[in-house]
Point group: C2
Chain length 382, copies 2
């Protein structure tokens, strides 16, 4: 039996905890023993030098350390079973996400993380020295995944995205894992929301199978309703008592909407559709009949933004107008726009932030607690 | 039925090819029709503006364009069924890789792509402006995946890696997808090779299910032998008639070894073990009893290097000596070395280059032909 032993003090009095050892002995089934197997007449042989004392007591039921200690000593402190179990829920979620999309006819793609053009906004982009020229780290696979809808019709990608966010908040990272989806031949953003619903149900289903990790983390899995409740941005403002001309939802508004969805619909999720066009990227499809609003949504999970999605423009002329309306020159997007000139179906998609998802599941106060080796303004190691 | 139509000239005389349309009509099963369904009394309605003429004739059986044309027009030319099928083999391979490792008790991990320390060599690393400080793009997840063996024991990751290779060759990219594996409690590199064998068998098995893609690409799937033949580096030099003091295998030597493995063992794969320590990174485990050689291997697939793998050092003292022997200061690796001081099992791993794998399957002359949007010295778009 292979296993990492975190406390061998009883069997190997000569070796400190965390020292890796080989145990040779007689294995007997024993329901009382941890793991159901008892090893008797054990011969314990160290496989490495005596281990240094861990920065925290890994055998205690919970890892009671400050965030800076957790992050500074991440390679060792992730060994704590309850901490490790948090990542096991992340890994299970990834498995459920992919299995669901594979079954729905999506193709996994791999798009470049080094790009010539910023995809979201010029302000939060990292610059790379690319053989002496400046290039950027991709803030999202947005442009590439849209172009690939013209090839595969339905695509997904799990990969790193990079945001040079100078904000030191509990829910922003400079590098995070984005679960990106894009699909063609939709009527509007509601079709996108239906695929998102399936993906979330798949992620919850896979996490539900990780029973030990659920028990160790105390995670509370949500029920994903057959149809996620939807409220229009204008109605959402009214619902939370905000002025009708607010351009965005504040965190307290999101919390209030989360509480409303739970009370009214028994749902941990609520989608807010119709976000003001002025707050959305240029590729966003406006709401037909009222171009102040958009065919896009944010999905709130327990009162926090987890997913952004929506319908995109698909006609080349609409792109050129939208880019000019933002005071930019369409020629800067030439390589992106070409795919639309060669025919693209109505399409849309979404992106789920993996770390935010897991943080909500296990009710971690900070996304850094559930990220293996987080990167932010202050941290490049371990 | 959802479908991307690449030639509607017969049904929609008004719309040029690649224009996306909605077809409303009566669907009837018809074994003679493409896809087995005939649509009669069709009403065709364009969903976008008339498409511009594609840069190549997508309806022809093969896409007969030069490499620069293929890459400049990638978003449109990937729509060609035979080209698209190449990526479908990549996607199937990823699926088979993950399913195999999941079944073997591996945990998927996600490690940072922005790092403080170069992992492989200082010469081929990209520099990022990290909030005003210099940082690097990870050349591999090597350090992180080793540290995570101390947590999960067996880990894998599929992600981008970055090499600032100034060489313009048919098999190097500046960004590529690496299929990384690392596992603990091994005897030596042969245990690593056995897991690699399983991963390859899983990839081939999944690709075998993509029957249409195989037919369209003309890919020739290898048989993965139960045990991959292994030859020691010293014997490999003798076998190909190279001088005994050669420090590396030249491409013609790799081809000769591939031919030998096929003739002698009926195998498309051969592992060359024992590479000279002088040519391997500092974390490589030497061959017990003769430290000129290493417990590492290269796997050749049809005479080309596809995978590098091996056993790593696991004792902290060995790391310090190895780093000093290369004229470096162990304190530069402090964050990495800490995990070893806290106990690590004997471990090893490997990395498969996805693009090289697919290029060999479909016998593409250049890895760029099978990469969705390749990045190299000259190319940052599309």
């Amino acid at each position: 039996m292979r296993t990492l032993c975190h406390d061998l003090s009883s069997t190997a009095p000569g070796s400190p905890v965390e020292t890796t050892v080989r145990v040779t002995g007689t294995a007997t089934a024993n329901a009382q023993a941890p793991g159901g197997i008892e090893v008797t007449q054990a011969y314990v042989e160290p496989l490495t030098d005596d281990a240094a004392t861990p920065p925290a007591e890994l055998w205690r039921p919970s890892l009671d350390v400050s965030l800076p200690t957790l992050l500074d000593h991440a390679p060792v402190l992730w060994r704590h079973p309850a901490q490790k179990a948090r990542w096991e829920l992340a890994a299970a979620s990834l498995r459920g996400f992919r299995a669901t999309l594979d079954a729905l006819g999506f193709t996994e793609v791999a798009t470049p993380k080094i790009v010539a053009t910023a995809t979201e906004s010029g302000s939060s982009v990292f610059t790379v020295d690319w053989f002496g020229r400046p290039a950027h780290l991709a803030q999202s696979p947005q442009f590439a995944k849209q172009q690939l809808v013209g090839v595969f019709e339905r695509v997904y990608e799990v990969g790193p995205v990079f945001r040079a966010e100078p904000h030191d908040t509990v829910r922003h990272l400079a590098e995070y894992r984005s679960l990106d989806v894009e699909l063609g031949f939709i009527e509007d953003h509601r079709d996108v929301l239906r695929v998102l619903r399936e993906a979330l149900a798949g992620m919850v289903g896979a996490a539900a199978e990780a029973e030990q990790a659920l028990a160790l983390t105390g995670a509370r899995l949500p029920v994903v309703p057959e149809e996620i409740p939807v409220v229009h941005f204008a109605d959402a403002l009214a619902l939370v008592g905000a002025p009708a001309d607010e351009p965005d939802l504040a965190p307290e508004h999101e919390r209030a909407l989360g509480a409303w969805a739970l009370a009214e619909h028994g749902s941990d999720f609520v989608a807010v559709e119709g976000y003001p066009m002025a707050k959305r990227p240029f590729y966003t499809h406006p709401q037909p009949g009222d171009e102040r609003w958009s065919n896009s949504f944010d999905l709130l999970f327990r009162g926090l933004e987890l997913v952004t999605g929506g319908q995109r423009l698909h006609r080349p002329g609409d792109y050129e107008r939208a880019i000019r309306a933002r005071g930019e020159d369409p020629s800067a997007y030439e390589s992106y726009l070409r795919a639309f000139r060669h025919g693209m179906p109505p399409h849309g998609g979404f992106a789920i932030g993996l770390e935010r998802w897991v943080a909500r599941l296990v009710e971690a106060a900070n996304v850094r607690e559930v990220t293996l080796f987080p990167r932010d303004l202050h941290r490049l190691a371990p």
